[in-house]
């Protein structure tokens, strides 16, 4: 029956949870503790009445009540103090949701009750209370893993014990010969000291907890902020991805449209070229037949007119070719039809053959200084011919007497072709007009018949062959154009068949 009563009282420890939960030590903690004790008393009374001693409620109630009021037994107080502290911790742990910790503390509490219950003779010794103090403190502090304060609490208790021993009090305290008043006084003292200790340490722990909680709250806030910014980032990211996607779509559409427009343009140019070349075939060749007397001799005046037709036809053809070339160059769609093993000598000779008639009526000698063999080249046969033809035609056009000399040589892995004339020369102020589209030199404008496209196209064609085109000139002395073409290029033959 006594054991049951003690156990019931241990349950009064629920009340102590208030003290344990109190914010600070000192007076406020004490007041709370007193309140806790009162509540615990009432609770344990009810518990012993209705739960633990259902058979003899009045008897049990009377006994428990009498214990508290008339004879506060030391052992009861020890049990009270330990169980109160431990139960407070359990309640606290449950509140925090630390169920495992609550269970462990509860097991410790039970063990403490059992141990105290089996101290047969000395249970009312004040010394037991004093020993129980470090147990409580250590329990509280160990739970908080506050090793330093645990050791401090134990040392303080040991110090107190040492002092008591030095004063010779331990003997008399453990003799069990104290009267009720003394026992009460010691018990009250022990109760207050242990309460203060619990309060202090749990207050200390509370401080730690507060700091911890503050930190946790800060962390949680930070975490929330982080989560929020993460979400915002994700939204921004998604938005960005969407925009990139949209842009890409737009770009694709624009590219497709541009490609389509380009195809339309190419088709238009091809068709225009075809449609213009077909009648020019008749104009140029019929007029030539007339000129050559294929269908009968012409009078001088007739001949002059017919020659005019041929020349205009050929001029128109050149114009069409030049405009088409320039349009391709400007749209970046000029493609070389690259062939391997080109005989440059043959190409240069073809160009000379084509231009020779231009000098038929002028005292100008067309000379060629070509080595017997020139290396084979990779390139666009038609475009290379166009380059040499253009330069030669210019030389013939602007030279009224003297010579036009074509030279070719290989040096430093380059084929160097030069076309030297004894023409009127290019004025330094005209230098830049030579290679600008739709611009002509003074003498070019005076002479007439040019488009201002030949040289710009030539330079582009030479560049496309990875070569260089330039000139040196002296007014009144003559001009020399140079074409240098690398023998080794990155040009790939289109199809070798």
């Amino acid at each position: 029956m006594a054991a049951i009563t003690r156990f019931a009282k241990s349950l009064t420890a629920v009340g102590f949870s208030y003290a344990d939960e109190s914010d600070q030590h000192t007076a406020r903690g004490l007041i709370r503790m007193v309140w806790g004790v009162m509540i615990a008393m009432i609770l344990s009374l009810f518990l012993s009445l209705f739960v633990l001693s259902p058979g003899t409620p009045q008897n049990a109630a009377l006994r428990v009540g009498a214990l508290y009021i008339t004879r506060p037994h030391l052992f009861h107080i020890v049990a009270f103090v330990i169980t109160t502290g431990a139960t407070g911790l359990i309640v606290q742990a449950i509140r925090r949701g630390e169920l495992r910790r609550a269970c462990v503390t509860f097991v410790i509490l039970l063990l403490a009750v059992v141990v105290l219950n089996y101290i047969p003779q000395r249970y009312d010794d004040p010394i037991v209370i004093l020993f129980s103090l470090p147990l409580i403190a250590a329990g509280v502090l160990l739970r908080e893993r506050d090793l330093r304060n645990t050791i401090v609490a134990i040392l303080i208790t040991l110090l107190v014990l040492l002092v008591l021993r030095m004063l010779g009090l331990t003997e008399s305290l453990s003799r069990g010969s104290l009267g009720p008043e003394e026992t009460f006084a010691y018990s009250a003292l022990a109760l207050i000291v242990s309460g203060l200790m619990i309060s202090y340490f749990s207050g200390h722990q509370r401080l730690l907890l507060d700091r911890n909680l503050t930190l946790t709250a800060d962390l949680r806030e930070l975490n929330t902020a982080l989560e929020r910014s993460k979400a915002e980032l994700q939204v921004a990211n998604a938005d960005l991805e969407k925009r990139v996607y949209e842009r890409t779509e737009q770009l694709l559409l624009a590219t497709q449209e541009a490609e389509k427009a380009n195809q339309v343009k190419s088709a238009f140019l091809a068709s225009m070229s075809h449609e213009l070349r077909t009648p020019l075939n008749a104009i140029i060749n019929f007029s030539k037949f007339l000129r050559n007397g294929v269908v009968g001799p012409l009078q001088d005046e007739q001949l002059e007119l017919v020659v005019g037709i041929t020349d205009s036809g050929e001029h128109l053809l050149n114009l069409i070719n030049d405009v088409l070339d320039m349009s391709k160059i400007e749209s970046g769609s000029l493609k070389l039809f690259v062939e391997p093993d080109l005989d440059v000598r043959d190409i240069i000779e073809t160009a000379i053959r084509y231009t020779r008639p231009m000098l038929a009526e002028k005292p100008v000698e067309l000379q060629q200084e070509l080595p017997p063999s020139l290396p084979l080249m990779v390139g666009d046969r038609k475009r290379l011919l166009q380059i040499f033809l253009n330069i030669l035609a210019n030389a013939c056009k602007f030279t009224d007497q003297g010579h036009v000399r074509v030279k070719a040589m290989t040096e430093d892995g380059q084929l160097l072709v030069s076309v030297e004339d004894t023409g009127r020369g290019i004025d330094p102020s005209d230098t830049e007009n030579v290679f600008l589209p739709f611009r002509q030199t003074e003498s070019g404008l005076r002479q007439g018949g040019g488009t201002g496209l030949g040289m710009p196209i030539c330079r582009n064609l030479v560049t496309a062959h990875e070569g260089r085109l330039w000139f040196e000139s002296q007014v009144g002395v003559g001009t020399t154009f140079f074409v240098s073409l690398p023998l080794q290029t990155s040009l790939e033959p289109a199809r070798s068949k």
Binding site: A270, E275, N281, N285, V294, F337, K382, L385, K497
Partner: protein, 132 residues
């Protein structure tokens, strides 16, 4: 002396080549067709067999490309040089001709001074892609 077959629907172009042949009778004998009706049958029936075939590209009902395929189907024509004589001489168009298997192109307007040299090159087995 070469036997040349020329298929051309443009009257002016036909006249030019006929006049050229009249001026250079020692160079070639010329057969001119105005369209490509039953090209295959007529080609097989042609005697003597042509040494060179000149094809305009925009001919009806069969285009130059189709005529080339028809000619190449027959073993006795698979080595006869077939050259396009056309005003469609933009780079892309020439690439098409090359891919189709023409041995060359002679551009319109014709440069008749060059014509004998070009024919000589072609008959020597060279590919000619001159465009002026």
């Amino acid at each position: 002396m070469w036997n040349v077959l020329y298929v051309e629907d443009d009257a002016a172009s036909r006249s030019i080549l006929r006049l050229f042949q009249r001026m250079n009778p020692e160079l070639m004998k010329l057969t001119v067709w105005e369209d490509s009706q039953q090209f295959e049958e007529r080609l097989l029936a042609l005697a003597p067999q042509p040494d060179l075939i000149l094809l305009d590209i925009h001919v009806k009902p069969s285009t130059g490309f189709e005529m080339l395929i028809m000619a190449r189907k027959h073993s006795n024509f698979d080595r006869v040089p077939v050259v396009a004589l056309t005003a469609s001489v933009m780079n892309e168009e020439i690439e098409l001709l090359q891919k189709a298997g023409f041995q060359g192109v002679i551009a319109k307007p014709l440069k008749l001074e060059e014509f004998p040299v070009v024919v000589e090159h072609i008959m020597a087995g060279q590919k000619t892609w001159y465009v002026w």
